[in-house]
């Protein structure tokens, strides 16, 4: 493809390709580029890997295996922080060893990702387009959640353009990575709002990032739609909160799990920032209301990688149920460590941030029995899929990260925005906000939640086949 950036790097080994492959397939992945956290060398396997920024920091990245040729080749799609393709070839050398060659083809987002922090003033958007900014985590602890969100936003914008939703102004999606970091979120918001002059910003970010950008959005009058699950903060003139609230997620799922397991002692575990703490606060109320008790509670900073101490606390606490609001990579690493500790079968876990991407990275075996509750889970079977899930799969393929609740909420938010622009006949934030609050969009589920209604969510359990619906709309 013209303008594509591709290159390769390589290294040599004295071992034969067969010997190296045997090590790799047995799970001895230490030292391997890209594959060092890979648990199974099979098509569809999700892989997390750090690559080193030449200026020192690690770039937490993720991808998925899309092709495996025994003892010869592994192909991966890089999903975060930027899209791309990575091919690892093992070739015989003349001295009986192996040359491994890593070929990289970088997607269009890669270069802007590197310049975003140091040069927020460079615009990539096309003049004259109707700009829809998406603020989502594509790196950092929550980075695993971002690709499905970016895909869903892409699908929504493509659908709007297919229907000429904004007349002669084609919609253009501009994605900015908040890097699960408040400072980076502020820079990304600045790029979308000030440099690109986005007509609307849809944000699927942590509440810590949201707290960082809210004052600027308020001061500028930016139309800001929050699509991620969050504690219910105060909405504002041009600020809407569409994601699940802690009460949506916990009101029915907590008593269901207590009743299904005939257990009542909970250990509350979460990442240490606003949203998980809100989950904890609401959990106290819901658990007490249902005559349960809290045997322990622990919050740890985002980016935690070792969980030995908290696992020991859980095992000593006398709890038999765990409520986890760990986020992103932290949730994956905890669930893997918990499984490796041999305690998985002794506890039931309700995990509020656990979506398909996190399940993929944890692995079904390690996550077996975890319950999750969110507004939406993409059906596993093709004939059970709703229309959006079918279109998403047709657009991005079977191996793309599945449509998560946060991704679906982002998709719905963009379509709702387009309807409001149609009613307002304007993209002025105040007029679009008024349309969003008008009775004409009264049937929207997102707007019901925005008005403060407690909505039902789906309750699922991890099985060998993926998420199984325990109960819909509990």
């Amino acid at each position: 493809m013209a303008g594509e950036l591709s290159f390769f790097v390589h290294a040599d080994s004295a071992k034969t390709p067969g010997e190296l492959w045997e090590q790799l397939a047995a799970g001895d992945t230490t030292g391997w580029p890209v594959l060092r956290n890979c648990r199974r060398l099979v098509v569809g396997e999700a892989v997390m890997f750090d690559i080193a920024h030449p200026e020192g920091s690690a770039i937490q990245s993720s991808g998925r295996i899309v092709n495996v040729v025994t003892a010869q080749r592994v192909d991966l799609v890089q999903e975060t922080p930027w899209g791309g393709r990575i091919r690892i070839d093992l070739n015989h050398t003349s001295d009986g060893g192996t040359r491994i060659t890593v070929r990289v083809k970088l997607g269009a987002e890669c270069l802007p990702w590197f310049t975003a922090a140091s040069d927020p003033g460079s615009t990539t958007g096309a003049p004259g387009s109707h700009k829809i900014g998406l603020l989502a985590p594509l790196s950092g602890p929550a980075g695993l959640l971002g690709r499905a969100v970016a895909n869903a936003a892409t699908l929504a914008v493509e659908e709007l353009n297919a229907n000429s939703a904004f007349g002669r102004r084609p919609a253009e999606l501009i994605v900015a990575d908040d890097r699960t970091d408040a400072t980076a979120a502020l820079a990304a918001f600045h790029r979308l709002a000030v440099t690109e002059h986005c007509d609307v910003i849809v944000a699927s970010i942590s509440s810590a990032s949201m707290q960082a950008i809210r004052p600027g959005a308020l001061a500028r009058g930016t139309l800001l739609l929050s699509a991620a699950m969050s504690e219910r903060g105060k909405s504002g003139a041009n600020y809407f909160q569409f994601g699940e609230t802690p009460l949506d997620q916990l009101a029915a799922s907590v008593p269901r799990l207590m009743s299904a397991t005939n257990s009542r002692n909970w250990f509350i575990l979460g990442s240490d920032y606003i949203w998980p703490r809100s989950i904890g606060m609401v959990a106290h109320e819901v658990i007490e209301r249902n005559h349960g008790s809290i045997a322990g509670e622990h919050y740890q900073p985002l980016g935690t990688t070792r969980f030995d101490e908290v696992i020991e606390s859980i095992s000593k606490s006398g709890a038999d149920l765990i409520l986890s609001s760990l986020v992103g990579i932290d949730a994956v690493l905890f669930e893997r460590a918990f499984f490796d500790s041999g305690l998985r079968s002794k506890y039931r876990t309700l995990a509020t941030n656990f979506d398909d991407s996190l399940l993929d990275h944890t692995g079904r075996a390690a996550a077996d029995g975890i319950w999750s509750t969110q507004d939406y889970f993409m059906p596993t079977l093709a004939d059970e899929m709703d229309a959006v899930a079918r279109r998403y799969r047709a657009r991005f393929g079977d191996l793309a990260p599945r449509l998560s609740s946060m991704a679906k909420s982002t998709y719905d938010s963009i379509h709702l925005y387009s309807q409001a622009v149609g009613i307002a006949k304007s993209s002025e934030p105040a007029e679009v906000s008024a349309a969003l609050r008008s009775a004409r969009l009264g049937g929207s589920r997102l707007l019901s939640r925005e008005r403060g209604e407690v909505l039902t969510t789906d309750l699922v359990e991890v099985t060998a086949a993926g998420f199984r619906h325990v109960e819909s709309r509990i």
Binding site: A2, G3, E4, L5, F7, V9, H10, A11, D12, S13, A14, K15, L20, Q23, T30, G31, W32, P33, V34, R36, F49, I51, A52, H53, P54, E55, I59, I100, V102, V104, L106, A108, C110, L111, P112, F114, T115, S118, D119, S122, T124, A126, P127
Partner: protein, 105 residues
């Protein structure tokens, strides 16, 4: 990252601009009208605006020849960018090389 590389990164963040550099690396010198013909879906004004960004980053140079503006590759080359990206992934391969030297891989 050196300033020249930063500017090159920004300039190369757009696929049309990367394509322009690719064309100029083969055709050496071209007027804007000929460049614009290679991008049927892009307006000439947009191509001029892309060329301005590339010129500001010293990735192309502009010469006047009569009434034409002629573009060719400038002193700031894409090599800086590629070298930087190569480093990103090379670091990942270095651990393989180290383990290979120790005989583990």
């Amino acid at each position: 990252m050196p300033d020249s590389a930063k500017m090159a990164f920004s300039a190369m963040a757009d696929s049309t601009r990367r394509s322009i550099l690719q064309i100029l690396s083969k055709d050496v010198e071209l007027p804007v009208s000929t460049l614009a013909e290679r991008f049927p879906g892009v307006t000439r004004a947009a191509i001029s605006s892309h060329l301005r960004v590339l010129r500001d980053a010293d990735m192309v140079v502009e010469k006047r020849r009569g009434q034409f503006r002629i573009y060719s590759l400038g002193p700031n080359r894409a090599e800086d960018v590629l070298e930087f990206l190569l480093d990103v992934y090379q670091n990942d391969v270095d651990s393989f090389a180290a383990d290979s030297e120790s005989g583990r891989l």
